[in-house]
Each structure stands twice: as C-alpha cells, then as structure tokens.
Amino acid sequence: MNVRIDAKGMHYRPLNKIIRDAIVSGEKEFELDNIGGQRYIGAGINESVKITINGTPGNDLGVFMNGPKIIVNANAQDGIANTMNAGEIIVHGNVGDIIGYGMRGGKLYIKGDAGYRVGIHMKEYKKQVPVIIAGGTAGDFFGEYMAGGIMILLGMNGKSPLVGDYVGTGMHGGVMYIRGKVDPFNLGKEVSCLELSEEDTKLIGSYLKEYCEYFGFDFDEVMSGKFTKLVPLSIRPYGNLYVY
C-alpha cells in the first residue's frame, strides 16, 4: 500500500513530518503530488523506503539521506543529495546547482542537464563510493574540490558545451568520466585526462546499465561514445599552499 499525499500549498515541515511518522508506523512507499518547492524531502531518513515526487521539489532534496529511493518526475533544484550517505535519487528532468555537495555514498541519476558545481567536495571511504550520472550537460566547476566517488557525464542531448569551465578545479580524489572531448582550456589545474582502461569500461558499464534502464536510453549507444577519464594529479594539491 502506498501513502499518497497531496502537498499543494503545504509547508515542508508538516510534509516531512507526515512522511517520518508514517515510516515509524511501518509505511514503505510514498507518492507526493503537487509538490512545489518543499525543501528537505527525504532528509536524514535511514529506512529503505520509496518516495515518488510529482512536481518540482525544493532545495536540499535527500540531504543526509541514508537509504531511501527517491524518484522525481520533474526538474529538481539546488543542493540535491547534499551530504547523502546511502540510497538513490532518480530525476526525470534537469537539476540545479551544487548537487551532490559533500555526498559520501549512494547514487544520483539525472536524465537531463545539471547546473554548476556538480559533486562539489564529494568523497568516498572504502565501500562508500557515491555515484552521480547526468545524461545531458553540466555547468562550470564540474567536480570542484572532488575528493572521492564517481561522476559520469553523458551529453546525450547533443547540447554544447558538454561541460563548462574549471572542470575538476581542486580535485584531489575520485574519478570522472565524460562522454566526449573536454577542451584542455576548460580543465582545472589539478586534473589530468586519460584513456579508459578495460576496468574503467567495466566499471561505468555496470552503473550505466542500471541508469539506461531507468531512463530508457539505449545502453549500447551510450557505451559506443568515446569517454574521457579525468583523475586528480595529486591527492594533496594544496599541501604547500600556506607553508612558506
């Protein structure tokens, strides 16, 4: 049985309370209608529940989330998956800026374009490896100060530029795969471009298979593109910055 909530005109506090209380009483599935800018949906929830969102959710969707699966049938805004620990967020549209800020686990799959500063300071620890995949383009500062995790950018809508300026500025961990060429002019000083190894192809294939199923992209077509792999030159690029 799923819990259906009409969120028209509802503030985020009662909305999120209804969800949390229902989870305590054992509910596992939610469908939220007429969502319009309510913030913090899914915030800090530890249980493996499923939340479907119809409408545009507010900022910090899935902040501190630790387990749920959230499906958004619209565009979403800024700060999605902020410090998220586990779970999945699937957005059938475009997203705003600073998504995956400090994300430390789980998956964030976006069908369309992403804004500025995707995956800023995303990190990983042992088995906790966050993954962000965007099917369209991304703005400036893609992977800024990235410390861990995996980011994949596909450019499936053919829009140009595929990725903005300052790609991977300050990056010191993790890996990015961009389906296409990145102009060296747009690369941060802290990253280098590599060809994909067989292991890389296997790794992205495992995530992209699932990704393509969610959004109906053709897996073979996605994989047939030529990817650029970006890794940090150093795990400690600023070690000598203030030591003189």
């Binding site: 900022n59 800026d97 500062f141």
Partner: protein, 358 residues
C-alpha cells in the same frame, strides 16, 4: 529608519508580459511566497510597471517619511521643484503583522519647463531624488519613475504585498524580493527593490565591489545614501544605459564582464568591444555573488555573477517571461511552461516590451 551596513537579499522573482498585458499583483505575491523560507521577515518588496495609466506621463514619487516634519519639508521641496498634480497616502491595510511603517505617501509630479534650461528632465528628476535622500532628514524616495512604483518594507514579502494591497494594481512587469539580511538589520528604506527613475533592482547576494562602484558613481553626481550594496546597481545601470547610452547587452557586459582569459579567445571584433568595455568601465564591474532582476519601462533583465554563486531560473510561456531564484516559484504561477532554463553565469536574460501597454 536609517541604519548602517550592507544587506544581502535572498529570494527574487520577476514576471513580464512582453506584449504589455497587465496582470494584478496577487500572482507575483504567490510566486515570492513559494520561496518564503529564503527570507526571514526583515524585508520584502515589489516593483510594478504600468500601474498608473491615468497619469502615465507624470513622475510618480513613492515616499517614506519618518515623521510629519520630514513630510512637510519634502512637500515644501516638491512645491519648489515640481508641479504637483496630485498627492495621496499610499493605500495600505494593517491586519497582517506589519508593524511600525513609516508615513507612506505618493505624489504625481510634472517638471516645470522653466527648470530645464540647462539639463534634461530625467537628470533633473535624478538630482531631486539625490537631494531628498541626502538632505531631508527622515525622508526617502522609494521610487521616482513614470507609470511605475516600488512597494517595500520590513516583513515577509507576501505580507508586504498584502499590506500594500497589490491586488488593486495591474502591471505588465512585476518584480519581487524577499530579504534575508546577513550583514545588517532590516529597515524600510533598505528593503528591495532599489530604484531610480524607472529603473528598479531586486538582488540576492552581496556586492563586494561596493566601495569601488560607489566612488565611481559619486564622480557622476550620484549620492549613495541608503547604505546598501544594491543601491549601486540601480545607479550603475542608469549611468550606463540612460546617460552613456550603452545598449543593454553591452551594459551588462560592464556589470559582469567576461574574464580576460575568455576575452583573449574571442573573435577580433567581439574581443575589441569586450576589451574596450572592461578598460573604460572597469569600475562598474560588480564583484561578489549576485543574482539580480532589473526592471525598466521597456523590459526586464536577469543577470548572475560570473561564476554563478547565486541561483536563477528563467522560463517562458506565450508572451510571458519569468525569472526566479527557484523553478518552483515559477511553476507555482505557471505550471505548464514552453521553456525553462538556468541562465549561464554572467549572461543576461533580456525581456523586451514589444506591444502597447494596455
């Protein structure tokens, strides 16, 4: 009313009918209210264009007075400087928690021919605005344009909108602001929009180049009396577009100039223009995080800082152009859009009036 410091607003929304259709104020209140949590109750305001069709050729001065002395002094001043066609209190209703408003009065003014021997009418009006703000204690001009007005104060924007009874006004451009001041307490004169003539600015962010911009503006006779960073944007756009006659797309290149490294890669003609603008107008560059919506009689301009440190979404539906800090604030009033996009950093979204105002 006056206080020190630099404010930093946090929710903006704007809507415009490029065909000049007029829409009542309830819609814009609904949009800005959707972003309630971006404000903290210390400032809200609106700019509306096309609201005084019966007196559209007169300067509509919206005034804020601390006390009756300020009102009397200003009215004496108006009698000397203008022909006053009509004056009346700005209608308000007090049931919604807005406290301690100043005296709010509006005047419809004409400039006597005899005053314009040595300067243009708009320079003359600009000078009077500067004079009132700097010389009459407790008297502030909230707006001074033709067929437009600013409605602002301390409170949440949706409360300010109802306080001013915006449902009774129809405009082809509405902009709105919800304030979350981080560097100063809120005060009535410090609420957005900031205006001069028909220019209005709502702003989310903070202008760290305020000092440079202020000194530059002072050389052209502007007096920055509202002690707020956003004020410089209103005067800079007036200087660039009205006085120096730059087209709007070039003026925004002065406010959010391309980086030198990007100018180096431009095509020769474009490179020449961009270099020239940066060299001549280096002091008009706005530094720091901002997203702004500028209103004027012929359109609406949305602009972000050059590395997009504040949010902005734009959308179109038929003849309507929308801009807001969040997409949800646009969907709230226009669920089905023809087009919705995130403007790039430092790239203006420009709406232009191409019909007759109703």
């Amino acid at each position: 009313m006056k206080c020190d410091g630099i404010p930093s607003g946090c929710a903006i929304s704007g809507m415009m009918s490029e065909q000049g259709r007029r829409i009542d104020g309830r819609i814009i209140i609904q949009s800005i209210a959707c972003m309630h949590d971006r404000s903290n109750g210390l400032g809200g305001g609106f700019a509306a264009y096309g609201i005084y069709p019966k007196r559209k050729d007169m300067y509509a001065f919206h005034m804020m007075y601390d006390n009756m002395e300020a009102k009397e002094a200003t009215e004496e001043f108006f009698k000397d400087y203008f022909n006053v066609d009509k004056d009346e209190p700005i209608p308000t209703q007090r049931e919604n928690g807005i406290s301690n408003p100043p005296i709010l009065w509006r005047y419809f003014l004409e400039v006597p021919e005899s005053k314009l021997e040595f300067l243009t009418e708009r320079d003359y009006v600009t000078n009077t605005v500067m004079k009132i703000n700097s010389e009459i204690e407790g008297s502030f001009v909230a707006s001074s344009g033709k067929n437009m007005g600013a409605f602002k104060g301390v409170g949440y924007p949706e409360d300010i909108g109802r306080f001013y009874k915006l449902e009774d006004y129809s405009a082809y451009i509405w902009t709105a602001h919800g304030r979350f001041p981080t560097n100063t307490p809120g005060w009535w004169g410090g609420a957005h929009p900031f205006t001069l003539l028909d220019w209005s600015v709502v702003h989310n962010g903070e202008i760290s180049s305020y000092g440079i911009n202020k000194r530059y503006l002072e050389m052209f006779g502007y007096k920055l009396e509202l002690r707020t960073d956003t004020e410089v944007i209103a005067y800079l756009i007036d200087l660039l577009v009205r006085r120096h006659k730059l087209p709007i797309d070039k003026a925004v290149m002065c406010l959010a100039s391309p980086f030198w490294k990007d100018i180096d890669r431009m095509e020769p003609e474009q490179k020449k223009t961009a270099t020239m603008l940066r060299q001549v107008y280096g002091s008009t560059l706005l530094n720091g995080p901002f997203s702004i919506i500028i209103g004027h009689s012929n359109g609406m301009i949305g602009l972000n800082d050059r590395i997009k440190l504040r949010p902005m979404t734009a959308a179109r539906k038929d003849d309507m152009l929308y801009m807001a800090s969040e997409e949800s604030a646009i969907r709230e009033i226009a669920p089905d859009l023809d087009e919705v996009w995130s403007p790039k950093a430092g790239t203006a979204v420009i709406g232009t009036l191409n019909g007759e105002v109703e």
